[in-house]
Symmetry: C2
Subunit: 249 residues, 2 copies
Amino acid sequence: MEIRLLAPRRFPRVRPQDDLPGLVIRCLREADLTVGVGDVLVIAHKVVSIAEGRVVSLSDVTPSPRAEALARKVDKDPRLVELILRESQEVLRARPGLLIVRHRLGFVCANGGVDHSNAGPGRVVLLPMDPDRSAEQIRMRVREAFGADCAVIVADTHGRAHREGAVGICIGLSGMAPFLDHRGRRDLYGYELRSSVEAIADELASAATLLMGQSAEGRPLVLVQGAPIVPGEGSARALIRSKERDLFP
Amino acid sequence: MEIRLLAPRRFPRVRPQDDLPGLVIRCLREADLTVGVGDVLVIAHKVVSIAEGRVVSLSDVTPSPRAEALARKVDKDPRLVELILRESQEVLRARPGLLIVRHRLGFVCANGGVDHSNAGPGRVVLLPMDPDRSAEQIRMRVREAFGADCAVIVADTHGRAHREGAVGICIGLSGMAPFLDHRGRRDLYGYELRSSVEAIADELASAATLLMGQSAEGRPLVLVQGAPIVPGEGSARALIRSKERDLFP
């Protein structure tokens, strides 16, 4: 069995209001790549956010008194903290240099997904408004262009509890189930596997992130062929464990 | 750019005291795969554990009073709980059906990595004693056989805080740095990236786990070609965030 991950070398620099699905299709064609049924396109959230105009100049932001106070506590720019608060449901941890929140999309992350990199001087990029919908829009246009229904994952890079370093995770999804459910299958001895639900959408985002790089030579688009996905509608929201269900300390 | 993940279809059933590095080499040769410099071999911890004799019959285990008490609390077999306690530094969360511990190897996981699947009736498999060393032993023998120094990752599948489903992670490592450090690189606008340390050993384990399956048709060995690794000594222990450094709630 084989999985191939292919990242076209040149993706155009994306600007607000660009037609991102059109850029994706052109980029794939220029790289002589065809999308087939069962393939997965993984795209870095950064280009989705920029195309959707989720770029903010810090000079346009007026921090609230709450943001001012929190900014002093965490030693960050109050305008940045204002944006983080607007993007968050709740602040989970705040100390100098660190602000961990539950994002309005549900996941727990640092700085509400608000990021300086590749945004331009004095500007920051917010996460897409609805990354599942962004994924679906790309999927529909790719299906029109290539005549095949693939899956699309919008990926971000997140830190984790208990482990060092960040890994790619899925924040938006269309066209596949986020999990592969091994429950009910039998092992070598006929023992029924009980608790093996694999978050393959996150594993695919991690795999693709290996090719994306993080700097000026970034490759925001990765085509994955041969992954064991189950086509379907799916949503990245299913990957978020609610506070009530949280098992880990 | 391209990454290829190749899983040989047939890996022999592994038994205690088997020469696992020898089985790996034979399996690669029978699949006509050659290992080159910069390649990564990812191997499921389960076959490492079994070859190293880390299989225990529950009937041979006498639970301590502490294990008996904890077993009542979490509603698990006291002999299983005894093994979990022996494999753990501390119990972090215990409630019916759930036992989260800090493993003696340092990471936070459910059930101390003690697993029923593919162990045989009445038996369980513990994690390898020293997975870095297991990885190194495979690496040395593969280097002898193929004349090329690759990296080796021992992978396990772990649940996570805040997210549903399990993903492959690296618990043993030899021949590569576990991280790719993007700090100091510059973005499209010349902005210096500040906090981008990517845990590529975990991303590689996640990618390979996509091919491994979990049941009788398991493919415990995956060869990865084209990944952006930095050769070096490395250890999976570097991926563990200490309590003192933990950022997430």
